[in-house]
């Protein structure tokens, strides 16, 4: 795949060195091109890209609040439609908190109503903008500031909420998972999402150097480990048809992924085995 040269997210933004979110946004916008309007939920991305009087965005962009990005985008899409501008892409970038927790209602409504928009959840698996608090997308065992490990706790004690399947249950024409570490797979999915008539949802895993606890240089490496260990599975659901889009040649041990991050450092071997067997069960079912 040819990588489009033009950048639609300017440098100078305030993201941490090694930020995974901006990589995801850059790649998505390269596929969507200049005839695109972006909407952001409150969160890291919004704060780092629009410190008034500056903006990193090279395309029209709007932010209103944390939980309503999908509703704002519904209004944008409807207004464009009312003006006959149906060739303009409307893309939403919401973090995992803004998507799986506080923004779930607005997102569900937008998906059910069939607005022609692309919703990309950039998932770093906790509330990173406010300093690493757990969200519904925080995985089992992760230590965050509101699910800390301690004498009585091994960290987050519930599995990650299955957002893409919740979206799939809405019957929208396109749902996919992706990772910034597999850019071709991700960009193909963005292209498909733009081409379908109706709502599309992409759940993009995006390692976070600050929240996960690893050296900034390792952002892509961590995303790759998630996929190569089967901890994050790349698939798409096109018109209801489920397809795994990437299969590791030889699945690595989950502990390799867990041990590379500070948020899992406290886990005992027993807990790591539990996570491994959970991953195994899913991967066996999907023949990964």
């Amino acid at each position: 795949m040819e990588l489009p040269e033009k950048e639609f997210l300017a440098p100078g933004h305030r993201a941490c060195a090694g930020c995974g979110a901006t990589i995801g946004v850059r790649l998505a916008l390269k596929m969507l091109g200049e005839n695109t309007v972006a909407v952001s939920a409150t969160g890291c991305l919004e704060v780092i890209t629009t410190p008034y009087p500056e903006t990193a965005w090279e395309i029209p962009w709007m932010h209103v609040a944390f939980e309503n990005a999908a509703a704002v985008a519904s209004g944008v899409e409807s207004a464009l439609k009312a003006q006959g501008k149906t060739d303009t892409n409307v893309v939403v970038f919401g973090g995992d908190g803004g998507t799986a927790d506080i923004g779930l209602q607005a997102l569900s409504g937008a998906m059910e109503r069939g607005h022609n928009l692309i919703y990309i959840c950039y998932d770093n698996e906790a509330y990173m903008n406010t300093g690493i608090q757990r969200s519904g997308a925080t995985p089992y065992g992760a230590s965050t500031t509101t699910s800390p490990h301690g004498k009585e706790s091994f960290g987050e004690d519930k599995p990650k909420k299955n957002m893409p399947m919740i979206m799939a249950a809405h019957g929208v024409p396109y749902v996919a998972t992706a990772s910034i570490s597999y850019p071709e797979d991700f960009m193909k999915k963005v292209k498909k999402a733009a081409e379908v008539d109706g709502p599309a949802y992409i759940h993009l895993q995006q390692p976070c150097t600050t929240g996960w606890g690893y050296s900034p240089a390792k952002t892509i490496d961590l995303g790759r480990l998630a996929v190569e260990t089967g901890s994050w599975i790349l698939y798409e659901i096109e018109e209801g048809e489920f397809k795994v889009t990437y299969r590791p040649i030889q699945r690595k041990m989950v502990s390799e992924y867990l041990n590379a991050q500070k948020r899992f450092k406290h886990l005992s071997d027993l807990e790591k085995e539990k996570i491994q067997s959970h991953v195994d069960a899913i991967c066996v079912e999907l023949k990964i």
């Binding site: 029209p60 209004g75 409504g109």
Partner: protein, 383 residues
């Protein structure tokens, strides 16, 4: 002129049809619901060429309004009570982003206990949001106010949203004769919305809803206060233009037999029709009583109210809302902004009926004022 008999909710829907918004995100709630139904039907019949978004909540209704307004089109929504409270966060954002949204509020009490009936606590509680607020007395005024509000809100000197408030059930579900203006005349009065400050257009990329640090936030809020002040002149001009075109003149306040009055009552909304009847009755008995109806509550018309009441010996302010430990909000706004002794009265909460006898009681108590705001119409054992 052909008068048609309709409820205030239908009158508002007729105004929306004439204002031609491009996007209408709306969520039903008693007693606003028939507005959302009329508009759905108008869109279904092709009488309004707009995208009607069946949102899943009021929060999303106002959010979608803001997204659409940011895209540069005229929008409308309507709500009430709990719905307005759910919108609260985005109500402030809409004003801050300077989106000239016009929204109708069917005034209803806030829970708990749950009540579907009228008072004005819901919209009064949004008074500090940066929205202009109009309180209509009848269906005709509701219709006319929606049309004028778009013109004021979209004025480049203003760019603030407007809430047109109508008393739930008392206006929303009772019918009155209403003159529906001619479409061509409205088109001339209210041309298309073409914003220069907010548009999501890939040919001219801009970022709306940025993050400000302490170097900028205070100025942004101050600019809104300046715009609210400037709105006063714009409201006057628009009212005059409306009067010249349609023959109905609306001021910030309406003075009813108040010019030579010794006792003046001040109130907002439909209660003023009852007060006018009582004023007429008392005048026949030789009592010099008058009414000042506050129509525009934000921007707050300090000079207009003061000029109207400064000659009176006794002033009584009637509120269908209250702020704990302080009393009615209109009452307190008046006391804080002008040098008058005004007695305060709280009435009609949660749909409690306000009878002419209550108004007479208020006149009596205004003439013999006590220091504390008084609740009128409470059940006897509570007094």
């Amino acid at each position: 002129m052909v008068l048609k008999v309709m409820s205030s909710n239908q009158a508002i829907a007729e105004a929306v049809k004439l204002a031609k918004p491009k996007v209408i995100p709306v969520y039903p709630i008693t007693p606003q619901t028939t507005i959302s139904e009329y508009l759905a039907k108008y869109v279904a019949d092709g009488d309004i060429n707009a995208e009607y978004i069946r949102v899943e909540s009021e929060h999303s209704a106002i959010s979608a309004c803001l997204g659409a307004s940011g895209t540069g089109v005229r929008v409308f929504t309507a709500t009430s009570s709990q719905g307005l409270a759910l919108m609260h966060e985005i109500i402030f954002a809409a004003a801050g982003l300077r989106a000239p949204i016009v929204m109708a509020d069917a005034n209803r009490a806030l829970s708990a206990p749950l009540s579907i009936w009228n008072d004005q606590q819901d919209s009064i509680s949004e008074r500090d949001s940066g929205w202009m607020q109009i309180y209509a007395e009848n269906g005709q005024e509701a219709l006319d106010s929606v049309l004028m509000s778009y013109k004021v809100s979209e004025n480049k000197e203003v760019l603030l949203p407007t809430m047109v408030c109508v008393d739930g059930f008392i206006l929303t579900h009772t019918v009155d004769p209403v003159d529906v203006p001619d479409e061509e005349e409205v088109d001339k009065f209210l041309p298309d919305y073409n914003p220069e400050h907010a548009y999501l257009d890939p040919k001219r990329p801009m970022s709306i809803g940025t993050f400000t640090d302490p170097d900028y936030y205070m100025e942004a809020r101050h600019d809104m206060e300046v715009a609210m002040e400037k709105a006063k002149a714009v409201i006057s001009d628009v009212s005059q233009e409306f009067a010249d075109t349609f023959g109905r003149k609306y001021d910030f306040i309406e003075k009813y037999r108040s010019e030579d009055a010794d006792t003046i009552l001040i109130a907002m909304g439909s209660i003023c029709s009852t007060i006018k009847d009582v004023v007429d009755e008392l005048r026949e008995q030789g009592e010099k009583v008058g009414l000042v109806r506050v129509r525009v509550f934000r921007p707050f018309p300090v000079e207009e109210i003061y000029d109207a009441i400064k000659g009176a010996s006794n002033v009584g302010v009637i509120d269908k809302n209250f702020s704990f430990s302080i009393g009615g909000v209109l009452h307190n706004n008046i006391k804080s902004m002008m040098d008058v002794n005004a007695a305060g009265f709280i009435v009609g909460l949660g749909g409690r009926d306000i009878k002419p006898s209550h108004i007479k009681e208020i006149v009596e108590k205004t003439n013999n004022p006590s220091d504390k705001p008084q609740w009128i119409g409470l059940n006897k054992e509570e007094q």
